[in-house]
Amino acid sequence: MYIAEIRNKLVQGDKKIADVTNDVLKSVEGKMTRGWMFGFAISFVFLMLMVWALYNTVTVGIGTWGVNKTVFWAWDITNFVFWVGIGHAGTLISAILLLFRQKWRMAINRSAEAMTIFAVICAAIYPLFHMGRVWLAYWVLPLPNAFGSLWVNFNSPLLWDVFAISTYFSVSLLFWYLGLIPDIATIRDRAKSKVSKAVYGFFSMGWNGSTRTWHRYEIVALILAGISTPLVLSVHTIVSFDFATSVIPGWHTTIFPPYFVAGAIFSGFGMVLTLLIIARKILNLESYITVNHLDAMTKVIMLTGSMVGLAYLTEFFIAQYSGVQYEQYAFLNRATGPFAWAYWTMMFCNLVAPQVFWFKWSRTTPWFIFMMSIVVNIGMWFERFVIIVTSLHRDYLPSSWVLYMPTFTEVALFLGTLGLFFTCFFLFVRYLPIINMAEVKSIINDRE
């Protein structure tokens, strides 16, 4: 049994190895529960809303959104950054915590990684469909072509995004899938129907539990963790370059890379908490995803929340200190202009609210943590909204200053990606083990 000096028992409730398999696979092998059906149905309805919103956008035009001659990006890129940010927790937990041998990650890394993949899928929808001519989206890839010497612009941060996001997605997917192979093999071995035997059999890639397979599994996991680790830092750094390399006051800021990464981890942990608190309750996995896990994650939230808070104050100070009137105005306008309500929502949710986690009670009370995780999600959404919309809506020439209002299509698209996210998550819960059984088995006491 693995004992961490500073931690309590990682798996509680005297679970045996067999219990792990039975508990975790209950949701996969058992009947569909009402709760699951209800949740899935609602998510699916929202997913259909997304399909409608995309159809409307593609067939009618970007004009169906509320963007205008001054604010060309609004909910689309806000949501993109929001979803990409959420993904970061998964990578952090699976890669960095693996390298640091933080065993407590074992109960939560599977679902965190799944969340990463679903979040990146949701994120990818926005930069794709915010294009006026999405059917030509492949032009942003450096593909050999018949158009003559046409090539992509390697100066453009948007192109860097393309590489960053696609790398991130493929590495995360591989990592997640690799971790799943032993567990899929377990399901295969226990499967009763021919279909699931065949499907799980196919995806288990001939896993037989031999030392050789285990050995390779461990090595590849370590290599992938090594590759993923810089991605945790690089992806959001590159996303922040979209703004940092521009000339728009409020965007043109060197603090963005670290500030975005901290924000991403902050929001990612927020979303992991939201999902896990629901999952552990519904799937009766409180013994595996323990209050200790929640406690550890809230500490990360408090730390990263304070980091972004510091960044907010720093950029405000630097703007005033710079003596550049456009910068000064951009930040004063955030705090006092027409979108001040968004700014103060962000400040409260991201800087003030997480400070409650200084108190032990708030770190160990699941319902409270759940509420706080929602607050964090809201705060981080508004952070991106504030950065994107309030910077654009009043930039250099006052003649072009406008207000921005989202349309129904835009709102539907956002709700729709939430639908997509949860649909994926519900399918994941139903068809794959949400806890890495193979790894968790290594940290429980199976002796009498």
Binding site: V60, G61, I62, G63, G66, V67, N68, K69, T70, F72, W73, P127, H130, M131, G132, R133, V134, L136, A137, W139, V140, L150, W151, V152, N153, N155, S156, P157, L158, L159, V162, D242, T245, S246, V247, I248, G323, V324, Q325, Y326, Y329, L392, R394, D395, Y396, L397, P398, S399, S400, W401, V402, L403
Partner: protein, 1032 residues
């Protein structure tokens, strides 16, 4: 030499032919003939055609005719596809443009213009810059007027009323019935009245002469929607000449203007704008003109004034009296014995009086009032200043309007008395511009025959018996006399689009003349050529105009203006605190009587920046008092009349006054479903009649909030410049001390980028003089038509998605004590403490045309992932529409926000049912410019198609490009010459010189994006030193 015969002493108004003037023996002989012109019969014989047809020929002709008719009866195949010419017309080379000198006819004005045609389609108007007297400057409404040619709402066939519906029929049927009707009217002894708007066509006059000869009791009555009778009457009383004088703003060093929007909508503003700008820029000695404006609405003209005093229009007369007395004091003339109790802030009347007096003979006082007494007083002041013959010319007078309201009201009385048997209405639209609230439905029922000649159906002619479609002016031959003895020619630049007939021919045919084409020449052409023997006809047509400036004859000023001043003093009650309404025209739709074209309405008002609707401009004080905010729908009522319109808090609006634009509320039935139907409210019924002429100031109106709101389609909603160094301005005193004022400080900038190498070839650049730009928006429409910019309509503008590549930014600064506030926070703070909101009344305005700056270090170029926007070797920032995937990143990263995105498909889309949505409308599309598809970014290209075309021409001719040979659409059309485009590598070009001018600067220079556009500091002719607002 005169074409008019008034010299002869004969009381004859119109020429009958040059022969009559010369009164030769031959003419005397011909005059004896009953058919002076000769019968068409004889012409036919002259041309050697036998009228005697023998039996065999008859059968041949019969057979041919039958065949022809059968073929013609087969439905005409719709021409949908571009097919190459089977036989190519001699001059037309596909893909190269042909230019014709012709004219634009818009809102009563004839403006000489060059019409650019491609493959037989007129696609653009360009100003005719060769004129001296009659201005060829094209303003926004003139450019927009081109669209009326390709308007699917034009009448396609002659219409006849059958069972209370207008149905298409043939010209023969219509002519026969109308002639019968006219004869009936003549036989019953009733009058035949031809009601037109002011039409200076000499051909038209000729046709009326013929009609008068044919029928007894023919009368011609003129009706114009907007009356300038005050000026006409005043000049008649003062000088015995009922004319609009030729105002020479180019010679005026000091201008005092009372409620007169002479740069925007007043009379021949296209000419005044150019003349005014000639001295608007200080010369080396710091000499420039000075402009005082006294007005109640903030007009475009007022926004350009050096000093502006908000006054109540109703008190204009008192201000004039005061001005008169102040000047009289200086001149040692007799003062008017009227006690002026008027308090004038800052002694502006006194200051203007001394400035005017110092520049006597080089000054000008104008008034936009239609009140005879006011205008007589203006004449008296100008007379005292010795301006007649210098800045005001009555000899080479303008023929802008010939409206005589008495005659019109008399006509109404006659119709009421059933004395009119037939009414022919050509273009005039009294039902819409209904100033006295006549019930035309009832009135017209008393006329047996009602015939209209027009290109469109309007409020008046929809109820008529016959509607005869007129040719569009671009399909017609004609000659106009816009100024005394100066002529402008109209030649067709397209063959008739519909089954229409020129009004001249229509009127002639009703006089029984044969108007059919002869050898492919229309009657109008043949007659024009026949009567025109003044100079070489071909040369005149080629030039498009013929000007004769006579030496100005001094006129004696003789009127008892003291009496008029007394009239004013009696009429105006100083203590009258009622709310007054001032009706005005907007630079787009103006009087509103022309067929509405979309660019008229998509073009924002230069001052309020509101498009499409009309609205109530209210002062801030009134807004605070009644807690009205922008968009609140107000009920404005005067007596029994009332309208409901949204409110707009207009800085510069005089407290106690409101303003509403005329020219809206048209009631049209159209084939298109777009915002042009039902725009705003018609305010013509509000126009009062006082002192015998129309009065556009209505006293004691009531307003109340209806509780509803309506969104205003405004292209700019933030009005203060926030103390930013974007528009630089200085006073003349500062400029005299240092011509580099505001530009002395240069940023020390370091660039990461390597500079572009322009040492070879061309380097295109632009300079925009903020002193000359008056905000008229002519460039905006010219650019939009040249570059196929789509119309997006009211809703899309409310969503802030207008597509114009060029916009005019307008910034107010608000006077508070000694300083001018430009920051929102300070303005709002002052609004809270200042009860009278005087800072809102006293504003200064600056205009800045804003378009793609073609930066050398363009922020847009680096961020495009697919290289759709790149830099050319000639300094252009190019947009490759084909390559654009529409990420919009470039537009976000543009500090000037000049990029425009195609949010929708703007062509072939019923949601945007403007001219891009029908085949006829699409004929105006410039084939050299791509029509952008949905989802791509677009922006100003510096008219790259023009650059390429000119370069290719030069290459073909093996020569270098001449300086100024390439002109962008905006630079070409700017009436004041504020925009200059050219090649910086050409050291002799104007642009090279302007780049070295002390006033030149780049907007947002400190970003080091290195724009290719230079702005030139605005210098105001005011005595004060403004604090340097530069951020350092």
């Amino acid at each position: 030499m005169s074409l008019l015969s008034n010299k002869m002493g004969m009381k004859q108004q119109y020429w009958k032919g040059i022969e009559e003037l010369e009164n030769s023996a031959e003419f005397q002989k011909d005059k004896q003939n009953e058919f002076f012109e000769g019968l068409p019969l004889e012409q036919a014989i002259d041309e050697g055609q036998s009228l005697n047809t023998n039996r065999r020929d008859f059968l041949k002709i019969f057979g041919f005719s039958l065949g022809a008719v059968t073929l013609a009866a087969c439905n005409k195949a719709p021409i949908k596809y571009a097919v190459p010419y089977v036989e190519k017309p001699e001059q037309i080379t596909p893909s190269s443009a042909l230019y014709y000198a012709s004219a634009v006819l818009v809102n009563n004005q004839v403006i000489p213009a060059i019409v650019k045609t491609r493959e037989g389609r007129p696609i653009k108007f360009e100003p005719n810059k060769n004129t001296q007297l009659v201005s060829g400057n094209l303003l926004a409404h003139a450019h927009s007027s081109l669209l009326s040619l390709y308007d699917i709402n034009r009448i396609e066939n002659p219409l006849e009323r059958i069972s209370n519906k207008l149905v298409s029929t043939s010209w023969e049927k219509v002519d026969a019935k109308i002639i019968k009707g006219l004869n009936e009217a003549a036989n019953t002894g009733k009058k035949i009245v031809v009601l037109t708007n002011t039409d200076n066509s000499t051909l038209h006059a000729k046709a009326l002469e013929v009609l008068k000869q044919k029928y007894a009791n023919v009368e011609h009555v003129v009706f114009d929607a907007i009356s300038y009778e005050g000026i006409l009457e005043a000049n008649e009383k003062s000088f015995g000449k009922r004319v609009i004088p030729n105002y020479k703003f180019s010679k005026a060093e000091v201008i005092a203007s009372f409620n007169c929007d002479f740069l925007g909508t007043w009379l021949e503003s296209n000419k005044y704008a150019e003349d005014y700008a000639k001295h608007k820029t200080p010369d080396r000695k710091g000499h420039m003109n000075q402009h005082f404006q006294f007005e109640s609405n903030l007009s475009m003209t007022g926004s350009n004034a050096d000093y502006r005093l908000p006054i109540k229009s109703s008190r204009e007369g008192l201000h004039l009296i005061k001005l008169h007395n102040e000047i009289a004091k200086l001149a040692g003339w007799k003062q008017l014995p009227i006690k002026d109790e008027l308090e004038v802030a800052g002694g502006m009347i006194k200051n203007s009086a001394s400035a005017l007096w110092k520049n006597k003979g080089k000054s000008l006082v104008v008034s936009g009032s239609n009140d005879v007494s006011n205008q007589i007083l203006v004449n008296a002041i100008n007379n005292m200043l010795g301006n007649y013959g210098k800045t005001i010319d009555l000899t080479n007078h303008s023929n802008f309007t010939k409206y005589d309201s008495n005659k019109f009201h008399q006509l109404v009385d006659e119709i009421n008395g059933e004395k009119v048997g037939a009414l022919i209405v050509q273009n005039a639209n009294p039902t819409y511009a209904n100033i006295k609230g006549y019930d035309f439905t009832k009135l017209l029922a008393k006329v047996n025959l009602k015939v209209a000649i027009n290109t469109h159906l309007d409020e008046t002619n929809t109820n008529f018996d016959f509607v005869c479609p007129d040719n569009h002016y671009l399909e017609s031959w004609n000659v106009y006399e816009p100024m005394n003895k100066s002529y402008v020619f109209l030649q067709p630049t397209i063959s008739r689009v519909f089954n229409t007939r020129q009004a001249y021919e229509t009127l002639l045919s009703w006089s029984g003349e044969d108007v059919s084409e002869k050898n492919g020449f229309t009657k109008s052409y043949l007659d024009l050529k026949k009567y025109w023997i003044k100079s070489d006809f071909n040369q005149a047509i080629e030039r498009g105009f013929l000007e004769n400036e006579a030496k100005s004859i001094p006129m004696s000023f003789s009127v008892n203006y003291e009496k008029e001043a007394q009239k004013i003093a009696n009429r105006v009650k100083i203590n009258d605190n009622g709310l007054e309404l001032n009706l005005y025209q907007k630079v787009g739709p103006r009087d509103g009587c022309d067929a509405p074209t979309p660019w008229l309405h998509e073009t924002p008002d230069p001052v309020s920046k509101i498009c499409w609707d009309n609205y109530v401009t209210i002062s801030k004080m009134l807004a605070e008092e009644k807690s009205i905010s922008n968009g609140d729908v107000l009920k404005v009522s005067s007596g029994k009349k009332s309208v409901k319109l949204p409110a707009y808090v207009q800085p510069g609006q005089t407290n106690g006054t409101i303003g509403i634009a005329l020219g809206y509320g048209r009631n049209l039935t159209t084939k298109t479903q777009n915002d042009l139907n039902n725009l705003g409210e018609n305010l013509y019924p509000f126009v009062g009649v006082s002192n015998n002429s129309e009065n556009y100031t209505i006293l004691n109106v009531q307003i109340e909030k209806t509780g509803k709101t309506q969104k205003l389609a405004q292209t700019q909603t933030h009005h203060s410049i926030e103390a930013r160094d974007i528009v630089r301005e200085a006073s003349i005193g500062e400029y005299k001390k240092d011509p580099k004022v505001r530009n002395e400080h240069k940023h020390n900038l370091v660039s990461l980028w390597r500079d572009h190498d322009y040492s070879e070839g061309h380097h295109w650049a632009m300079a925009i003089d903020l002193n000359k730009c008056n905000g008229c928006h002519a460039c905006v429409v010219s650019c939009s038509i040249e570059n196929n910019v789509p119309i997006v309509g009211k809703d899309e503008i409310i969503r802030r998605r207008e597509m114009t590549w060029l916009r005019i930014d307008r910034y107010y600064s608000f006077a508070s004590g000694e300083e001018y506030l430009t920051e929102e926070k300070k303005i709002d703070k002052t609004s809270k403490t200042n009860k009278t909101q005087s800072h809102y009344e006293n504003v200064r305005v600056a205009y800045q045309p804003m378009l793609c700056q073609h930066c050398d270090n363009a922020p847009c170029e680096t961020v495009c992932p697919v290289l759709a926007t790149t830099h050319s070797s000639e300094g252009l920032n190019q947009m490759t529409y084909n390559r654009c995937v529409g990420t919009k990143y470039c537009a976000n990263n543009c500090p000037y926000k000049v990029r425009r995105f195609n949010w929708f498909k703007y062509y072939d889309n019923d949601k945007f049912d403007f001219y891009f949505n029908n085949d006829l409308g699409k004929m105006v599309i410039n084939p050299d410019v791509t029509v952008r598809s949905r989802g791509v970014m677009e922006k100003c290209s510096f008219c790259v198609q023009r650059i390429q075309e000119t370069k290719l021409t030069a290459k073909r001719e093996s020569r270098k490009l001449k300086s100024n040979e390439v002109q962008t659409a905006c630079a070409q059309t700017c009436p004041t010459g504020a925009i200059v485009f050219g090649d910086l590598n050409d050291k002799n070009s104007e642009i090279s010189k302007l780049y070295k001018d002390e006033r030149s600067y780049h907007a947002l220079e400190e970003l080091d994006v290195k724009p290719s556009i230079m702005y030139m500091t605005k210098i105001r002719n005011v005595e004060e030193n403004k604090k340097d607002q530069h951020h350092g």
